[in-house]
Structure formats: C-alpha cells, structure tokens
Subunit: 442 residues, 2 copies
C-alpha cells in the first residue's frame, strides 16, 4: 500500500469533490458530475446502491437482492472522472479538508455528506435487542430467513403459547415501509404459505401493525390513511393506533401501559435518525441532521455540503425540514451538481425548492393509495398500477427493471414467491443448538 | 413440543419411507412417490434443493441463488403423503429402525440415504484452511464476495507481490466444475471486470487450473479434454496438469515439489467424498460410499437403501461403482420409487442399469464440449447451445428456468453480470479490522 496515497486517487489540477454515500442523493450527484471538469471520489461501505423502497419485498421472499441492488461501479461506468472506493468513513476534519476512512485519508475541495439515515430505536437499542431493522439488504435477507425458519419450527410445535411466539409478527411504525410490509406479509399468509405448510393453522398467524399516531401513513392524506386501513383489514392485519412499544426481549413485545404480545419477530419500521459522521461541531446539527442553507451547504462551513436524509433545510414550505424521502434526496443531488458547476463558472448558485410529485403506498395485491399534489387522491387497482409503474421507472438500471418486472408478473399470476430460501449460515439455530450448516463456512 | 412425536409426522397404517437428503436422488424419489400408498418423510438441512451444476455461476456473479435453488416445499406441493422436515440427521439405528435428528427421532419402514457428497480436502482439511469449496449456495455467495473484495482491494494496492495475492486465482481440480469455473472467470477477466476496474492491469490477473492427471475432464473423451484446453487458452487460463497441491495457507498455495503461487483464492473442485451418516457398520462402506446391491439396498441391511453419490454399486459396466453424477442419482431415485411400489404389490424389483445420455462441459462464452454415447463428440458453438438447452430443461421448476434464461440472455448480450454484489456481513474485513457493517446484524 502506498503510504502517501493509500486510496490511489490520481492527483488532479481540477477540484476534487468527495461524496460520502451512494444512496439516492449521492448517486444522483455523482451521475450529474460524470465527465465534467471536477474529480469525484465516491465512498460507500457497500459496493452497491440499494433501492430501499423495495427492501420489504426482499424480506418477504418476493425479490432477490440483485433486483434492488445496483453495483455502484456499473452505475458509474464510463465516467472517467469518478473514482469509487468501498470504505467506511470514520471522521471528517474540516480544518484540514480531510476525510478519514478505514482504507486511508483523502483531502477534498468540496465535501458532500450523503450518508442518509439509520434505524433509530427511540434512542435505546438495548431495549429492543433481537428486533429486525429494515434498512439494508443483509437485514432484509435475515428477516426473510427468520420468518421462514419460524414456520419450519411451527410445523413441529403443538404448545399454543410457543406457536403464537412463532406466528405473531409485530411491525412497529405505520409509515409506508410498515404498511407495505404488513400488506406483503398479509399476502404471504393468504396466498403463499398455506400451500407450503398445510399442517399450520393460519388463523393463528397474526400481523400487527403498531403506530403511535392516530393514523397510518403520517405524511400522506386522510384518504390514504383510511383506505390503507381498509385494505389491510382484508388481509386480516391488525392495526393498533396510538400505541407505543416499550421494549422487546425476543419473546414478548411490551407496550406502554403494560399490554404484551408473544412474538419473536418485531420488525422496526418506526423512524430513522441521521447517520452523522464525527468531526463537525455539534451546532451544525438539528435532531441529528446537518443544518444546511438553501444551497445545501452546512452552516458554519465553507465547502461542506449535506444532501438527502441527512440534510436539515428550513424553507417557508418546510419550516421543520424536508421529509426524509428519496425524491428530496435525488432533487438535492441534482441541484448540487448544477450548483457546483455554476460555482466553477463563477455563477450564482440556485436555491433548493422541492417539487412534490406526490406519494404512494401499496397494500398487497391490486391495492394501493396515491396522493398527488393539489389534493388529488385515489386508491384501488389503478393506484396499484401507478405504484408499480412509478417504482419500475424509478429504479436505477435497466437490468433491475427487467428482473423486477419478471418477478412481479410471475408472483402475480402464480401466487408464488420464488425466493423463499433460508440462507443464513451464521445464525445459531432456533432449535437451541448450532447446526453444522450454520457454522461459519470456510 | 410433543415429546412423544416431536416431528409431528402423522401416524399411518401405510409404510413410512424416510428419505435423508433433497438432492437429485432424494427429490426424484420423493416426487415419484407422491400421492402413492406410502408415507414419505424427507429430511434436508436446507429448505431448498440446490442445482449444483450451476453453482459456479452464482460464484461468478452470473446468477442469484433463486435461479438454482428450489424451495423443497414448493417442489413437493400437492403431495399429501409427503412431509418435509428441515433437520440435520445425526445418526441411524438400523436395529430399531430409527433416525435421530436435531429436532427429534423418527421410526421408518424403509430408510433411503441420499446425502450425496461433500468436499474432500484429500483427507486433511487443516492443510487447506481458507480454501473455498463449491458445494453449497452460501459457499458460492462467499466466493463471489471474496473475489469482488479482492478487486476492491487491488485498486488500492501498488505493491506487486500483494497485487498478485489478490489477482491470482487457483482452481484445484480439472473436472467439469473446475473447467466451467475457469471459463466463467476467464469471461469476467476479459469482458466484465475491466469495465469496473479501469485502474487494474488485468494482465496481472491469472487463472490457474490445476489437475493431478494428465488431462482435463477426467470422465470424458480425449476430444473433450483437448478442446477444453484449447478454449481455456483463449481466456488466458493457465492449465497445470500432473500437478498436485500440497497445502494452502491463505497467502501461498504450495505444490508437491515445492513450487508456490501467491494467492488468497484457492477454489477447491478436486473431488468429493460420501457424506456418510454414523450408525451403519463399517463393512457397509467402500471408500466412504454405501455398498449397495443392484436394487440400491445397502449390503447387510433389510430395509435401508442408498441412492445417488453416496451409493457404491458394482456392475459389469461399472466394476468400480458409478460416477458421482446427477443423472445416475436421478435414475436411481426413479428406479427405487418403482421398486418400492413393486415391493408393496409383492412384485419382483428391477435391477439398476445406468443409461448414459452423455456428458458435457462449457468453457465460457460460445464454447462447450459434448460427449454422446457411441463415441460421438463435438465442440464449439453448437455444443454450447446444447449445453444450455440441456441445463435449462434439467433444472427443476419453471420459475428457475425462466430466471436462468432471462439472466443468460442478458449476460450474453450485455457482457454484464448483474449480481456482482458483496453481501458478506459477517466476515472480518480484508482491510485488517472489523468494519461496522460487517458485524453480525441484529
């Protein structure tokens, strides 16, 4: 390893833009800077971009990872000025314009923090050990294996209490992820799993969707909330509103007030927190997001930007910051690319203005809700079709579109889920002892 | 859990056939016994059947696991007399007609051992720690991640010695798996990886295929051997014949005679050994396979059978036992199903006779070799087409056929490999310390 240049990023006479994070914001920025007069270095801890809105379909055996993960090097192919480095950034030192990573340090002219968000267990993860977050592909695969293993064990279980532990699934958080996951699990319960497990009485399978507010799909319309609840009822999903979880120990989830539900499956879809990197002063932060001006520059810095979930920008439309959504991230990434180009031409940058094209959520087969701007709301089959279309065109890369479309058509017409595979070699067996095949593989 | 009947297999007045292993032999037998007058209980440690001939394509980022893994419950759907139990069998006690598993014990009327084979490191795995076997899906995924991680690290590496460690790949074993893997890696080297890693000099990437005999594709014709070698040369693969490996320490592979190659990637495709289960007397065994008569009954037992790789049957055509191949396994599974039916009707069972329909191997894009019975051999593009066709029709399940065909068409025309994802959350980083995302996921 070259001690002076451990990252082996070529020296350049152009400005160097370092981007941390290959999510929606980072990728959009990098692509818009492809083949321009700056050098771009993109860091991500994974070698792929994750299309998070469909993670729940990986968790419910509808898709394999390749459908929603795009290799970053592929996405940035043919961009001679972009250098990808797979690394974890540990610290930023803005006074010396340097980022520190597990593979070495690098100086920058402009730094763009696009690390997104991570699961937030209400500040105390120790109270929720054994809960399943759903932010990354390995987590989705782990949940898929866990659910299927529960059914394999349910076949062997006669004790009613033990059975409920295996067959109850509690989802915390009634936002789009929670609602869509509940719908997908409802479909598994209704159409897929009973064929696999004829010995299991599926009346015993309960899907709970728990939300602290008094409605689902917080950022969306009352129409969306009501229809989502109606659709979820068709799948027997049990919606518990104004309910707060207190703790989860792998056997019981305990709610505020003392009520308990027996389960070993608690899926956490209840909010996220900014994935902040050490190094900037604390007064840059507002509830774990970087306070940025209208050009996404972090307040108090000269050349450090934040885009996407991690950015907190107050505007007249959004006095408490923008929602942590993919469209915001993509629009900020695109605008910042243009503003960086303007800067290099000594032009004035343009302020960010979020164009809300609407929001939507699907609730199982044939059902979805869509909110468009100007109070246009609709649901049902047409909304479901719009949902599919929008997700298909949004996903990066033609191959992913093709894989997803093929899988969706297959799943729709066969009522099948082809990826119900338990691939979890490192996890101790549910059956009490470590199986041979579950030991680390050499 | 019901102590008396922990497996919750219903009591039956019919004969109970217990099958250990859901590979080619076990699945064929189970399917042919579907909806007949016996009760079938199938054990497998995984909940899926693995189409092993294409494992190497998972390892080389050409396919995701769902393409080659079929959920066993799906394959056996609508068979009311078949019960699948995901379990590891630890012992057989033939004197009390009982199998012991990690989830409980079960008695049988007929026992069929179809456990296949496992990787054999020439009897001493401690000499080959860090080698990559290629018999199971998690192993293939692990190899895929390892190879891609090596290239991510190669980007950072200037020292020539360190670089060779990352860019040399040594495959031990010149059978079909080794040859096909070498061809697939050759394609990655030639068509796919250079686009991803423009900074890496691919002249430094060496693919070694090491074989102890004086030719490749041992069971096949001289024609096949010569042509495979010719095709491999086009991909710059280096074939080393009459060469034996001595040891591998994760840094160097050492050959008999003392020669060493620097590499951290040794793929083991050099032979397998029967996956024997404790409990039968040692004189049932011949080189770790169960000695069976012409009806696949294990010698010295009354009601215990072995089929597939694990069965050692001497016939006039095969005085040293049959080759460990999928077609043998499937034909034995089918015949045993018919013989069990005949037994129940007090008819004479029929002896096994292997119908060899030929063998084949592909060597990268557009190239393959095919041996047919009666000394018909051909190679090149047409052979490659036959190879694809035969593999497509052989794989179980229409969904897998569809997924594989789609991927092959995509890979062929785009020179792309969509699944080049590093998904390996539990493995310590190559970069010396454990990354945060590489810690076990909660």
């Amino acid at each position: 390893m070259d001690k002076k240049n451990p990252l082996r990023v070529p020296k350049t006479e152009h400005k160097r833009v370092v981007i941390i994070g290959g999510g929606f914001a980072g990728i959009q920025l990098a692509k818009k800077l492809a083949n321009t007069e700056v050098q771009v270095v993109l860091f991500d801890r994974n070698n792929y971009h994750t299309f998070q809105p469909l993670l729940y379909q990986v968790a419910t055996a509808g898709l394999e990872p390749d459908a929603i993960a795009g290799p970053l090097r592929k996405l940035l192919e043919n961009s001679k000025n972009i250098f990808f480095r797979m690394a974890t950034v540990s610290e930023i030192k803005p006074d010396i314009n340097t980022v520190f990573t597990n593979i070495g340090n690098l100086t920058y002219d402009y730094l763009v923090i696009a690390c997104g968000s991570k699961t937030n267990f209400f500040g105390d993860p120790s109270k929720f050990e054994g809960a399943f977050p759903l932010k990354q592909i390995p987590q989705a695969l782990d949940l898929r294996s866990h659910i299927l293993q529960n059914f394999e064990e349910a076949v062997l279980t006669s004790d009613q209490e033990d059975l409920q532990k295996l067959l109850n699934i509690v989802i915390v958080g009634g936002g789009p992820t929670g609602v869509e996951l509940a719908g997908a699990l409802g479909e598994l319960k209704k159409h897929v799993l009973p064929k696999d497990y004829p010995d299991v009485d599926f009346d015993n399978m309960n899907i709970y969707l728990v939300e602290g507010m008094d409605g689902l799909l917080g950022g969306m319309s009352d129409f969306a909330d009501k229809h989502a609840q109606k659709y979820l009822k068709k799948f027997d999903a049990k919606v518990k509103l104004k309910t707060f979880v207190e703790s989860f120990d792998g056997e019981y989830v305990t709610f505020k007030g003392g009520e308990k539900i027996r389960t070993n499956t608690l899926v956490w879809a209840a909010g996220v927190i900014g994935n902040v990197i050490p190094g900037l002063p604390d007064d840059c932060l507002e509830r774990n997001r970087y306070k940025v001006d209208h050009f996404n520059k972090i307040k108090g810095t000269e050349n450090v930007f934040a885009i996407g979930d991690i950015a907190y920008m107050e505007t007249t439309d959004f006095p408490k910051g923008h929602p942590m959504l993919a469209p915001v991230a993509m629009q900020q990434g695109e605008l910042l690319a243009n503003n960086l180009k303007r800067l290099s031409q000594d032009k004035e940058p343009k302020p960010f203005k979020y164009t809300d094209k609407g929001s939507m959520a699907t609730v199982g087969r044939n059902k979805a809700v869509v909110d468009l701007p100007k109070d246009v709301h609709f649901g049902g089959f047409f909304a479901w079709f719009v949902w599919m279309f929008v997700h298909l065109i949004s996903i990066v890369g033609f191959r992913s579109k093709l894989v997803i479309l093929t899988n969706w058509i297959w799943n729709y017409f066969t009522y099948d889920r082809g990826t119900r595979l338990i691939i979890r070699p490192f996890k101790p067996s549910q059956f009490g002892k470590l199986n041979k095949q579950e030991q680390p593989i050499k």
